[in-house]
């Protein structure tokens, strides 16, 4: 007889326990009376506080009716009188089960929030028992993250109204449920030892058997049994210590648009405030100055309540930043502004700045960050991502010192588990078990509270937290605030490991490339804003008004769009459209500030050599999609340009060969094949720079799975897709300065037009793309196999550079198959090398002698149209002597990314600042000084003599000393304040 697998159909004791815990949950509601006077008026939010209504007037809403629409906001209203049987009850609640997010006003006052994680709120007493409920509900829509299983059955853009009720709690059932749920979690979580789990299994089973679920009796007896048998059983002792910090992660945009975050934030704050009144032990940590700003603007009453709770220490503003920015892609000045505007806001509204940077969800952190933190008053850095999301290596520390590019150190806390927990025993145990710095003497940090779209701590979590100290098998629990935990834990006496360099996240590598338009515009606008501010400051010194308000507004809009689900591209379509509209406005505002006229002006703090691009709609050159012309001539630092007359003499020789077109510029001999790739590049001395496929366009199948927009898999090279040459290389134009050759490559759906541009007298070649991109799940890369042997490549980080190894020796190098860089990457050996300088690309792969620049992706989640459409971009391939520093690659990259502006100003007498780049010249935030921010870019140390003593400042523009000699170290950021008189005398004479 064949073996028949027996499927068990009977219930195990622990399953019976779980069923009865669910029954207890249902028993928590005591009295219940339906409110039947609900009306609803539906609409759609169109701005922070504007709506377009679908319904002209409210309509009745009855249990079983459908309500809410996709992206819909529903306004519910009901007037009701508390039934007589509720009078005299200690506490009456409104119960409304929904998957939406609701902000509830009761009798005109914001009273609480209802969302997928909570379905009741405690009602304030009302005269005569009369209640007016006014609810603003937003259709919650984060599909991949339903942590609360009760909400799953309710979800959908169009929901079924479950009714609204006056209810009371059956306190005995509720208290027993919270006990039982805690022990059920221990029983099922698998984090506790076998003996203790067996004890809990047995005692919980027996406790629940003391209850009669029909008559609802035996509840007190069951609680007493659990107290005696489990809470008071001290034979099982936990080790270690865990600090619990309440927090709610709030994505400003993601599966929702930015204006929805206004309500999400208000609801989150309101819920926490309400809980604080009922649970004084609750201390809650909330981040992002922008969110506080919106609360202040749109919910001033709530904001004042927050301020009161900040004074009592229960509500803790944290993080220091304007928004929780991505920390790979933004330039250094953007990161500085995050802290400048963030800290100034916190200080102005709450009396003090933050001491921690709180970024639980950010996709890796640049090595430039520690210095910016340190000089912005931030001592502690918190991020959960590396410990919980790395796909290859286990990040080796949780409590450590993080050392940045310049050597600055901050205390770093990378909690071992996710930033969203319910403070359940298993989560706490897992946190402690995973904690790798147990011997440091620092307790591990466990955040609790629902998040991503806000929500925060629930009553159930508070009930759990209250009980944790009585569970002997747990580590010692400390309920605290974020700042208190960090200050008390990270002290100089602790021996901590040092992590030197970037905090690379071994995941989400696609976010360096997804939504290329956002990246390109972010780069362009960072530099445009720099120039608009610089020229405005110079004009101010010459008597004009400084447009402080306009510049600050433009910066803040840019900063908001650097949020870690906006600039990285991990969002739905409308978020992209909002960002692009913002970018268009910033561009127009900056253009208005710069003004239309004047001479071509070099805004860089060094003389440009070679060519500079001047945008001009009437220009003859089409450069990366923009009309203009390349100018050559005298282009001193911070000065008008004196163009040289165009040359007409011959400088370029071409020769058709079997292998391709040989182009000889006098500086380079480049053999260009029909698809625009380079079979050979030799300098005047005959040094060959190519070894393999070079400047080759490649397409790879790119299907990373659920995290489509976020990830590129290490196996992406497995399937290469064909590209055909639709139009082989041919000359397009040539004059005395530049020569352009053009070819077209195509797939069935997409066309790449590549313009190979040579510049007279230059050792670089530009590849300029116009792309009609119609692929699905394809990654486009430009690859360069260099005749260079180097153990590492240098990657620009915007304010310094970082070496990245070219080998795949260990898991650490293998995991870094795609990394973030800014304007350039360079692979050099002693004597020479190759650099690739881009104008808006960030992802690059580096292996052996190959640089692989990511150009475009075509993901379909969360945005089905991500990146499809037209693209223009370019890069230079630079063939140079010496290393990147000697070859001036960084300056070239700044030139490539910064077009000439038009300006009426005369020349500035700018000194030679060597490797110090003038990152920012602006009016101080108090309007009294000129701020001069210099960043060392080459990894040198030195001194810059000033003609007078200047005040040294922190990045938040606080006093840090006085000097007439700016001494700087490698990659240091120096900020000084000059009086307008000093600056005028120094810069204009």
């Amino acid at each position: 007889m064949a073996h028949v697998k027996v499927i068990r159909r009977s219930m195990l004791p622990d399953e019976w326990t779980a069923v009865r815990v669910r029954w207890l949950r249902a028993m928590m509601i005591g009295r219940s009376a339906e409110i039947t006077s609900w009306t609803v008026q539906e609409g759609r939010q169109t701005g922070d506080d504007t709506y377009e209504m679908d319904d002209e007037a409210p309509r009745p809403l009855r249990r079983g009716d459908e309500y809410f629409t996709p992206d819909g906001t529903a306004f519910l209203r009901a007037e009701a009188v508390l039934p007589p049987e509720f009078r005299g009850e200690k506490e009456v609640r409104l119960r409304l089960a929904t998957a939406a997010e609701m902000l509830v006003r009761v009798n005109g006052r914001l009273t609480g929030g209802i969302d997928p994680n909570r379905d009741t709120l405690v009602l304030p007493p009302a005269e005569d028992g009369r209640y007016l409920f006014e609810i603003e509900g937003y259709n919650r829509s984060k599909p991949d993250d339903d942590r609360n299983e009760d909400a799953i059955r309710l979800k959908g853009c169009r929901q079924v109204f479950q009714g609204g009720f006056f209810v009371t709690l059956n306190e005995d059932a509720a208290e027993l449920y919270w006990d039982a749920n805690l022990f059920l979690n221990i029983l099922r979580g698998g984090a506790f030892d076998e003996d203790y789990t067996a004890l809990v299994s047995d005692r919980l089973y027996h406790a629940l058997s003391l209850v009669d679920y029909e008559s609802r009796t035996g509840l007190k007896e069951a609680r007493e049994y659990l107290r005696r048998e489990l809470y008071e059983n001290r034979r099982y002792r936990g080790a270690g210590g865990v600090a619990l910090v309440a927090h709610s992660h709030l994505d400003i945009a993601y599966y929702w648009r930015r204006h929805h975050a206004v309500q999400k934030n208000a609801r989150t704050c309101l819920i926490q405030l309400e809980l604080m009144d009922r649970y004084p032990a609750l201390r809650y940590t909330h981040t992002q100055a922008y969110l506080f700003e919106t609360l202040e603007k749109y919910y001033p009453e709530l904001f004042e309540r927050v301020r009161e709770k900040v004074k009592t220490g229960q509500f803790e503003p944290a993080g220091g930043m304007y928004v929780e920015s991505d920390c790979n892609l933004p330039g250094a000045e953007s990161l500085i502004r995050q802290f400048l505007y963030g800290q100034l806001y916190f200080r102005s509204r709450f009396g003090r700045a933050c001491t921690n940077c709180w970024l639980p969800d950010v996709f890796g952190n640049s090595a430039v960050l520690p210095q910016i933190l340190k000089k912005s008053g931030i001592e502690y850095f918190v991020s959960n991502k590396m410990s919980t999301w790395n796909d290859t290596n286990r990040f080796p520390h949780n409590s450590f010192l993080w050392r940045g590019l310049d050597g600055s150190e901050v205390y770093a806390c990378v909690p071992p588990t996710h930033f969203i927990t319910a403070a359940l025993p298993t989560e706490i145990m897992e946190n402690w078990n995973a904690y790798q710095d147990k011997d440091s003497g620092i307790d591990t940090l466990c955040m609790y509270g629902y998040g991503d779209g806000g929500s925060g701590v629930t009553e159930e979590m508070m009930k759990t937290v209250e009980r944790l100290g009585r569970v002997s098998a747990l580590p010692e629990i400390r309920v605290t605030g974020g700042e208190e935990y960090l200050k008390q834990s990270f002290t100089p006496d602790k021996k901590l490991a040092v992590w030197d360099g970037e905090l690379y996240l071994e995941m989400h590598r696609g976010t360096f490339t997804t939504k290329a338009d956002l990246k390109k515009n972010n780069r362009r606008l960072e530099l445009l804003l720099r120039d608009a501010e610089l020229i405005s400051a110079l004009r101010w010194l010459r008597g004009s008004e400084y447009p402080a308000r306009e510049l600050r507004a433009a910066w803040k809009t840019l900063l908001i769009n650097q949020f870690h689900d906006i600039l990285p591209g991990s969002h739905i379509r409308p978020v992209y459209e909002d960002a692009m509209a913002d970018y268009a406005k910033i561009g127009a505002d900056c253009a208005a500030l710069l003004g239309p006229g004047g001479a071509p002006w070099n805004t860089l703090p060094f003389a440009r050599e070679g060519f500079a691009f001047l945008p001009d709609p009437a220009g003859e050159e089409l450069h990366c999609g923009e009309r203009g012309s390349f100018l050559r001539g005298e282009m001193p630092a911070l000065s008008p340009v004196r163009p040289a007359p165009a040359r007409t003499d011959a400088w370029l020789r071409t020769e058709k060969t079997q292998a391709g077109l040989l182009v000889d510029t006098g500086c380079l001999r480049v053999l260009v094949t029909e698809d625009g790739s380079f079979a050979s590049v030799k300098d005047a001395g005959g040094r060959e720079y190519v070894r393999g496929a070079f400047n080759v366009l490649r397409l790879f199948r790119d299907v990373p799975g659920n995290y489509d927009a976020w990830d590129i898999l290490p196996t992406y090279r497995e399937t290469e897709l064909p590209l055909t040459v639709r139009a082989p290389l041919r000359p397009e134009k040539a004059d005395g300065e530049t020569a352009v050759f053009l070819c077209e490559l195509a797939t069935e759906k997409s066309v790449f037009t590549r313009r190979i541009r040579f510049f007279r007298g230059q050792r670089f070649v530009e590849t300029d793309y116009t792309v009609s991109w119609r692929e699905d799940h394809v990654l486009a890369k430009a690859e360069f196999e260099c005749n260079v042997r180097a153990p590492y490549a240098l990657c620009d980080l915007g304010a310094g550079f970082l070496p990245r190894e070219t080998n795949r020796n260990t898991g650490w190098q293998q995991a870094r198959f795609e990394v973030c860089h800014h304007k350039w990457v360079d692979l050099s050996e002693t004597g020479g090398g190759v650099a690739v300088v881009n104008n808006g690309r960030y992802g690059v792969g580096i292996q052996d002698n190959r640089l692989s620049l990511s150009l475009l992706r075509a993901t379909c989640r969360p945005d089905l149209l991500s990146d499809r459409g037209e693209h223009t971009f370019g890069y230079l391939t630079v063939f140079h002597d010496g290393g990147a520093v000697e070859a001036g690659i960084n300056r070239l990259a700044l030139e490539y990314n910064t077009p000439l502006r038009r300006c009426e100003l005369p020349a500035v007498r700018w000194p030679d600042t060597g490797s110090l780049f003038l990152q920012s010249l602006k009016q101080s935030e108090d309007g009294r000084s000129v701020i001069l921010r210099l960043t060392e870019q080459d990894g040198r140390r030195g001194e810059l003599k000033l003609p007078f003593p200047a005040r040294l400042l922190t990045l938040t523009e606080d006093e840090a000393g006085e000097t007439d000699t700016l001494a700087y170290g490698p990659f240091e950021i120096v900020t000084a304040a000059l009086t307008p008189e000093q600056a005028r005398a120094w810069l204009f004479g």
């Binding site: 996709p70 599909p143 959908g156 853009c157 699905d776 379909c860 989640r861 969360p862 089905l864």
Partner: protein
């Protein structure tokens, strides 16, 4: 562009996209309106309720109630 198509493109699609979903107009024949559900709509258990809302809206706008014929595109897939 037919009135149903206009309604789909201008009223329905932007709202559905703002919830991570996607409904494409695929054509119509008589009273049958063909749609493709993509993105989150492709795997939504409550899609029928939204489709009823689409049909209600189309009827309100045009006076004719469409019969919807909906294809769900596999999630994470583009044809």
């Amino acid at each position: 562009m037919t009135r149903w198509e206009e309604y789909l493109r201008e009223r329905v699609a932007p709202r559905v996209r703002a919830d991570g979903g996607w409904l494409d107009y695929d054509g119509e024949e008589g009273r049958t309106l063909r749609l493709t559900a993509k993105g989150e709509c492709a795997r939504c258990a409550a899609l029928d309720r939204c489709l009823k809302w689409v049909a209600d809206g189309a009827e309100k706008r045009t006076g004719v109630r469409p019969e919807l014929s909906v294809t769900r595109e596999p999630f994470l897939w583009r044809k």
